[in-house]
Symmetry: C2
Subunit: 155 residues, 2 copies
DNA sequence: TATTGTTATACTCTATAACTATA
DNA sequence: TATAGTTATAGAGTATAACAATA
């Protein structure tokens, strides 16, 4: 083998496919990547405050305001006052939002199954283990790299 | 195993790591994702027209104008008139641009090697094969999915 | 007539800072 | 005094449409 770039390049290719094609798939539902991401977290967390969404998405509160505005205007979520804290706003999926997320979850499961359809159990196991190892290492390497850069910048 | 989502979720995780951390890494060079992507293509193609860059990046010519403006202002590329076609503009890497891309290429190679460091040759082979299969299938599935959606929309 | 790149306009995502209402 | 969310402002990426210069 001795072509280490093969693995990395494949990961980049997967990234590219997931990014571009998922974006187009969301568009056909009238959603963007960012808005879908918010819906996804909302579905995971259940109805919650904008602050919690900002934390979950690692974006600014201001950004969440804009995304919720857009999702409210298109009918995917609804705002309601927080029952006890009058500063806060509770965001919840509407019926349309919930239905959309159910459909997406189903699509995701179907895609996941098709992805490994026909592979032997052993092949699947090897691939999962390999991906685990690579993912973990990638995370560690990139983190170390960033720390190094930051240190270099401080100097 | 029987948890097909594991594979897909790992791919999503890799996507997330590559996207977020690469973006931050580029930032430390004073570059954004989009501008880096343009530099990357420019490095691959060699000095070329904005039209060719727009095609390579799958974005509008107008978009390329903006990216080249920014990269020119920050010294990574330079515009020059096309020798024979007076409508066209040739974009080329500056010395800074070329140096930056060399560094990135070196970083990419180093990261790729570290990613599989310590894996046996057989493990590497299995992983590469598995990734190949999954990538190819993912591409096919998502393409089919998109075609289906488009058809549904036309109806 | 077709093509290259630009100006004009607009939308989305994102951030920081200042501010209001509330805790 | 601190926190939740908003308005104000700004910058990046993206697109389409109209236009100028050139092929």
């Amino acid at each position: 083998m001795e072509q280490p770039l093969h693995i990395f390049d494949r990961l980049l290719e997967v990234t590219s496919i997931l990014q571009n094609d998922m974006a187009r798939s969301f568009e056909s539902n009238g959603l963007t990547m960012s808005r879908t991401h918010l819906l996804w977290e909302l579905n995971r967390l259940g109805a919650t405050t904008q602050k919690a969404l900002a934390d979950a998405l690692h974006v600014s509160p201001r950004n969440v305001t804009g995304l919720v505005d857009a999702l409210e205007a298109t009918g995917f979520v609804a705002r309601a006052p927080h029952p006890t804290d009058r500063r806060a706003t509770i965001v919840a999926l509407t019926e349309l939002g919930a239905r959309t997320m159910q459909q997406m979850e189903a699509d995701r499961l179907r895609l996941s199954e098709q992805l490994i359809d026909g592979m032997s159990g052993e092949q699947q196991r090897q691939l999962a283990l390999g991906l685990d190892a690579v993912t973990e290492r990638l995370h560690a390497l990139v983190s170390a790299d960033l720390a190094q850069r930051e240190e270099r910048q401080r100097a």
